[in-house]
């Protein structure tokens, strides 16, 4: 069974979003996504200062099975990336909810209302 954390928001493409404050969020991939991918060997992330757009690709994760695009659940500016993942992509498998990928400053915080709640996300799994 895949773990779904109650206090996070989710996208249909299996990313999670954690609200840090009114305009900043962390983005990662869900436990379900990490399990389906299998052992992750490479994480390709944007750079701080880049912009991401909701429902557009912002990077990729590569596992022994396949390479998959990362789809941004929100629009905004990348203010930080999780540098640890560059050397240790396996952290995503170990704990997908603490291995965040990027920190984003939202252009439009109302966008978060479009995302799935933990309960809604569990429904689609």
């Amino acid at each position: 069974m895949s773990k779904v954390l109650k206090d996070l928001l989710y996208s249909k493409s299996h990313e999670w979003v954690k609200k840090l404050n009114e305009e900043e969020v962390l983005i990662g991939i869900s436990d379900y996504a990490a399990k389906q991918l299998g052992s992750i060997v490479f994480v390709d992330l944007p750079e701080a200062g880049d912009t991401v757009e909701a429902e557009s690709e912002f990077g990729a994760v590569e596992s022994v099975k396949a390479a998959s695009d990362l789809i941004s659940p929100v629009t905004g500016e990348v203010i930080e990336i999780n540098e640890e993942l560059v050397g240790e992509p396996e952290l995503v498998n170990e704990d997908p909810y603490s291995a965040w990928l990027i920190k984003v400053k939202l252009d439009n915080p109302e966008e978060l209302e479009e995302l799935l709640s933990a309960d809604d996300y569990e429904e689609i799994l």
Binding site: S39, V41, V64, A66, E90
Partner: protein, 489 residues
């Protein structure tokens, strides 16, 4: 004991296997190379002729090919490669030709090239072929270059996007990108086919065309194909047929009749030329009559009884040295002539029958994500009754212990535990039954003895490999290996 050495590990400094003839060109001195002279010795193995022969004979025993056993690698059409093809290409009239020989001395070779073009036209329903592309992906690129050239020549510069379904082979979007165009992916419907509404939504005057494999990568025939090609044509785009799965249709349906304008054929799949391990392939590209002028140079043409080589001004240019992998094309022509029209028409139906036989026999043990008949290959989504969460990877690895090549796994990406089985038409009922028995045995092991599956293969020279390590530590050569060992102390 299994021989398990690299040739570098049996190397002895100063040992030679071959003496070079005495140097004839005395006025050259290696020191004249100056700065270009390499600073360190090349890391080359030094072995005697006997050591060398033994080494390669021993490692050849570890090879597994279609001549060793069943090889149901989905999407790869690992059919038997008839020996008569090899006999033919070995004859001096073909094997010793030079591309710059006078045309009058190579009439036979040109005739074979020309007649194969025609045979492929008849089989595919497209007017003309170039045999020059070296392999499938190269054919895709050449076909897309023709598509691009067609729009450019009409002055229609906006058309830079090519549609691919989400079930497409990864080479499709890759070829589109290499060709300087943009891939537009559309979702499949719940039967694994092109979703007509999703297609309509992306059609506009920026679409150069659409690439499609039919039957698609799920082994399912796109039954709306006529409507699909009509919609794309009405929007001003061209239809590209990825010939990867042509074996299913051979002799029954022609891509040209379905409305495709451009296609490539993998001769190394459908037409029985050897492949696996990287080549050599051959990926002829065929087109409808309005695109003939854009096919790559050089072209083989015929005037009365004389064959000659021509370069056409509107062509996309030259995409290969001379005529591609000519001897591979020749093997394909040998296959076509040996089967003849009547037997060639049996290929698709028999390949389809074999895949459906496997599908029916295994559907209680492996999960079938899509109902209905398949074409030449069948896709399961992992084990059906699976209390120990055995993965498709474990099943595939275990097959090696039973002396069979693993099917394609984790493709198509639409399912999470895909296993894609393509038996081809060249296997006997007995061989296919053996495979089915083994697959059932593995399904039973998955319930009763899961650890054996998790550790499989147990009987091969290399047992379970560490795929994470292999993907993270790029060790491609003995030199990389030494560096890795040294870095670890």
């Amino acid at each position: 004991m299994m021989y398990n050495k690299l040739i570098f590990e049996i190397s002895q400094p100063g040992r030679v296997g071959y003496s070079l003839p005495k140097r004839q060109f005395t006025k050259y001195d290696i020191k004249d190379l100056g700065n270009h002279l390499r600073q360190t010795d090349a890391l080359l193995p030094e072995v005697s002729e006997l050591d060398c022969v033994r080494h390669f004979t021993n490692i050849s025993k570890k090879n597994f090919g279609v001549e060793n056993g069943f090889y149901p690698l989905g999407s790869c059409t690992m059919k038997y490669n008839p020996k008569i093809n090899e006999e033919l290409v070995k004859t001096m009239s073909f094997a010793k030709l030079h591309p710059y020989q006078p045309i009058s001395t190579v009439q036979g070779a040109l005739r074979a090239y020309y007649e194969l073009q025609n045979a492929l036209s008849e089989i595919s329903g497209l007017e003309e072929f170039s045999l020059n592309p070296f392999a499938g992906a190269h054919g895709e690129l050449v076909g897309l270059m023709v598509m691009k050239e067609y729009h450019m020549a009409r002055g229609d510069f906006k058309r830079t996007k090519v549609i691919v379904p989400d079930s497409a082979h990864g080479t499709n979007p890759a070829s589109i990108t290499v060709c300087g165009m943009e891939a537009v992916e559309i979702v499949s419907n719940d039967q694994g086919m092109v979703d007509i509404e999703a297609l309509k939504a992306v059609l506009n005057d920026e679409i150069a065309g659409m690439m499609l494999t039919n039957p698609n990568t799920l082994g399912i025939f796109e039954k709306d194909i006529v409507e699909i090609t009509k919609l794309v044509h009405e929007a001003g785009g061209l239809m590209y047929y990825d010939g990867a799965n042509l074996n299913a249709l051979l002799g029954k349906v022609r891509p040209g009749d379905m409305g495709f304008d451009i296609m490539h054929i993998n001769l190394h799949k459908t037409f029985s030329t050897p492949h696996g391990g990287g080549g050599p392939g051959s990926g002829p590209v065929g087109v409808k009559d309005f695109l003939i002028d854009y096919l790559p140079n050089p072209r083989v043409k015929k005037l009365e009884d004389y064959y000659y080589v021509a370069n056409v001004g509107d062509a996309i240019g030259q995409i290969s040295g001379y005529f591609g992998n000519f001897l591979v094309a020749l093997r394909a022509y040998s296959y076509i002539l040996n089967l003849g029209k009547e037997n060639l028409m049996q290929v698709g139906p028999l390949a389809t029958l074999n895949a459906n036989y496997v599908r029916q026999a295994l559907k209680n043990d492996y999960y079938l994500p899509i109902e209905g008949y398949c074409m030449h290959e069948v896709v399961f989504d992992g084990l059906k009754d699976n209390p120990h969460e055995i993965r498709t990877l474990d099943v595939a690895k275990r097959l090696l212990d039973y002396g069979m090549h693993a099917p394609t796994i984790y493709f198509p990406l639409l399912f999470h535990q895909s296993i894609m089985i393509e038996p081809t038409e060249t296997e006997s009922l007995q061989t296919i039954n053996d495979f089915i028995d083994v697959m059932k045995k593995i399904a039973k092991e998955a319930k009763e003895d899961p650890d054996t599956l998790r550790n499989a293969p147990l009987s091969t020279p290399i047992t379970r490999t560490d795929e994470v390590f292999a993907a993270k530590e790029m060790i491609f050569s003995y030199k990389d290996y030494l560096e890795y060992i040294n870095s670890k102390g």
